[in-house]
Symmetry: C3
Subunit: 418 residues, 3 copies
Amino acid sequence: MHDPMHDWCKEMWDFPRSITGEGVRQTLSYLTNLVPELVTHSVPSGTEAFDWTVPPEWNVVEAFIDDNNNGDRLIDSYDNGLHLLGYSTPINAIMTREELEPHLYSIPEQPDAIPYITSYYKPRWGFCVTQKQRDALGDGPFHVVVDSTLKPGHLNYGELIIPGTNTDEVLLSCYICHPQMANDSLSGVVVTASLARWLLSEPRRLTYRILFIPETIGSICYLSKHLDEMKQNTIAGFVLTCVGDDKKWSYLPSPSGATLADRVALHVLKNAETLSYLTDRGSDERQYCSPGVGLPVCSIMRSAYAHYPEYHTSLDNLDFISQKGLSESFDTYKHCLRILEANETWEMIQPCEPFLTKHNLHSGVTTAESRADLFLNVSAYADGTMDLMELSNVIGANALQVDAVARSLFHNGILKKR
Amino acid sequence: MHDPMHDWCKEMWDFPRSITGEGVRQTLSYLTNLVPELVTHSVPSGTEAFDWTVPPEWNVVEAFIDDNNNGDRLIDSYDNGLHLLGYSTPINAIMTREELEPHLYSIPEQPDAIPYITSYYKPRWGFCVTQKQRDALGDGPFHVVVDSTLKPGHLNYGELIIPGTNTDEVLLSCYICHPQMANDSLSGVVVTASLARWLLSEPRRLTYRILFIPETIGSICYLSKHLDEMKQNTIAGFVLTCVGDDKKWSYLPSPSGATLADRVALHVLKNAETLSYLTDRGSDERQYCSPGVGLPVCSIMRSAYAHYPEYHTSLDNLDFISQKGLSESFDTYKHCLRILEANETWEMIQPCEPFLTKHNLHSGVTTAESRADLFLNVSAYADGTMDLMELSNVIGANALQVDAVARSLFHNGILKKR
Amino acid sequence: MHDPMHDWCKEMWDFPRSITGEGVRQTLSYLTNLVPELVTHSVPSGTEAFDWTVPPEWNVVEAFIDDNNNGDRLIDSYDNGLHLLGYSTPINAIMTREELEPHLYSIPEQPDAIPYITSYYKPRWGFCVTQKQRDALGDGPFHVVVDSTLKPGHLNYGELIIPGTNTDEVLLSCYICHPQMANDSLSGVVVTASLARWLLSEPRRLTYRILFIPETIGSICYLSKHLDEMKQNTIAGFVLTCVGDDKKWSYLPSPSGATLADRVALHVLKNAETLSYLTDRGSDERQYCSPGVGLPVCSIMRSAYAHYPEYHTSLDNLDFISQKGLSESFDTYKHCLRILEANETWEMIQPCEPFLTKHNLHSGVTTAESRADLFLNVSAYADGTMDLMELSNVIGANALQVDAVARSLFHNGILKKR
């Protein structure tokens, strides 16, 4: 089967995403086609959320810099949405190079990269260009046009609650506010959509809260409406982003590094680089893990934000990510969710070792020793004080293997659930 | 004084021990001569004990393989009890080499060793031979005789409760089911018997529960009758086995590695190899430490089961062990028991350092500094929160030395018992 | 400004200090000139204090050894107070070298050093001399005079309680019983006096209990009168001694190493040598930290007692210490006290990150990143469970910097005090 995640990225690539505006709604509309159960919500500009206020909605008709001598189009946001500084205020003026200069952003060390820059809360306009474009601009005068609007409107997000038989909840959160960023943001969106589709197709014990939101202001808005229920129900959560390339794994712990989310991530990951919540946090875990919220949230990533040179530039594009990377990330998160589903606490019904021969779980001298060992080890440690993951870590085996053995012992009347 | 432990091993060597049968009763009878206070018990075949059932009693008249061509006796269980696979079902038949082959057990890598193999719960017969014997057997036909019986009978064990002034109990457990194994099993039996004799001769604070039982089914039976009282009273316990040679020390911890038994073992042992409960457990601690039982039991050994090449072969014989090894093991366990007897919690009666000069515990400039230091260190740390072993570990001194100093401070009115 | 601490040492140098007597009173009188708020107390000889009794008061008119052949003064306590063994009983006798010999103390390895030796509680007399003096004494006979008195009198000490707005108390303790020891004892006295003067000049939250006492018997006497209130109020304490030279820093932890005093010392000290309470304790922390007292007391030192060759010899003199060393020690203790004053527990008022732009604590793209980071890090971790020091250690920043940021967030309505 052709896995479509990379195609989805391609199809959503050009939607002009920001924290508000048409591009967000186009993205949510596309996602609703993938996951029809997704519910979209809108929050009016001016709504207060804790210390924050939902900003005006931003939309752009066009934005360009022309050479006013000959009318040549030098920079055009149609070529690449990143050319326009996010949330630029409108302008239509003839200006000198000197006047234009403070409004230009480029990266001298990466002459072919357009930087991704925004100014959501300080009114400002600007153009982000490659250093080569900047060097070739000439002296002007220039005709500079930003045909944007900043007007009362809405902040939009998508929410999907998939109920389980249990009110214990797992949070999956990704962000839909980055225009034309492939690994940062978009990879997380398509892996989250795939996980939602998979979860809907499977029987499940746990409830899932899956969010497609603008980063920061979106999670703050959402928390301001749902804080109490999330604090009460959430047993683990993940911020999904930077899951598109196929380089090494990264793990950003929660502040304590010891929540159920951390424990499952550490159980599943091998050889991941462990980042620091103090110095490396950068996405919505900043809200989910904040004092007064304190949800058990961490992040499993590939090349993590701010840790690869293409980050927040036009080089974080569809070539930077791969179907292989997206699929591996999907599998890794699926592994985590399967373990969370299985993460029950087992307890031996009777004292002493079980008589495995009687239960045909041990065939004497010639049995496969390792499988018998796992039966005996589970029996030797399942004292009702450890959940599946702790039990597996003590035994030194994979949690899903231990789950299979525990269920077999359960069906033989040897183990019970605590 | 000649220490008789090695002699006792020699005298019990040929008793045909298994988990049931005459050999067990002969062994218990011999032990009752050594320790007249020992009480023997018998449990009928078919008795249920948790997940287990006491098996039929097994006895053997003779077992051999003859060359049917000339009547030569090729293998004879009178030569070495290990030749007969433990719990072999009866047979009396003429058969070809091909028919005999699946019933032969040998170790190609140890051509002079007879392996020790049993099949208590799957009906089976077999002969264990050296690889050299196997290679020399010829083509047959063979006359194969196992004149054994598997009939309702009893499982036998010995129990000795030595009461102290206190109901807190120490468990000493060894197993009497191995035929002609010297380090594995028999060494533990004679060291336990010596400890019982020593304990009976001394004043004591603690109560001792000393068991001579068949491994696994014996401890499971015993626990099924005494679980509640043992869970309530046992403060520490040890499985005594593999204490006969004089090579390095081994320590098999309890599952937590932190019980009082572990703490005293770690305090007493120097340079012992620490084994793993997960991967190295192998005797009755599997029952004593199981979920639902959870007794504080560990094991101090020399060459530990499954960790020496002679293990479970005819090479684990009377030459493998030595009187030196047995005596050192006895001394080490005695050291442990003495510390457990002394393991009280001391507390300073008054604030501040004691005035040692006044108590003649410090003679000023010229005193033996180290002894004064120990008085001061005990006074500086005895705050009523640490038992003797913790206090000794904090001070970095041997517990019996600290005990002597604490008792001296006690008699001078400086310390009290908590 | 010329810092006078080294001058103070010089002026108090010759006062004949011991655990009782005129020298103690002269020292307290001098200190009362420096800190007029200081209150002096006296405890009669024979007073009981826990296991101890206040000894007779000791005073000396003169002490010398003359060559009885020619009347030459060979050793004279006027030259150096250390020549006379502390608490020497009186004697006036003609004696041979052989008779004198057991009363002489010198250090063969340090031929120019007079050792400092006392015998407070065993009646004894003696002379401490350099090895060179001893070698040159000749054969006698000698006229030996110790014109001392041991008579009922008083033990004297100074006490200063500086009240804060809060009854939580910090203990600063130094000892005034060492004659002519500069680093050991006197350096601690002048740094403590300086801290007292500084504390009196500043607004403060905490209460300070500052003690100038004879070592051991002084702290025991003091504790016997004030134990309950000190146990109830003391949140941290320090024994100030060995703070006069400018070599490496040493840190003597409390028994647990985890009290508030330890935590502030560890926060402030960089590259200090950590000593052991078990093997290195040596001053009044022996009483303050004893079982039944258990105050949170540690010691920040430079060259620590018993860890430098000049210790307890005439070489621990005014040249061994320096104004630089004294000033640095004063600054380090001042840093500790400032952190203790600031050590409150901060908690975010609202969930999620604060909107720093709104509060003008973040100016967008061009702000000083590190300061913004500290605002964000404090906001991200201030969950009301950590005091300032824990918060600072988690964030990896200096506590006083974190305090400044926390107070700024407090004034912006973002943080509250727990």
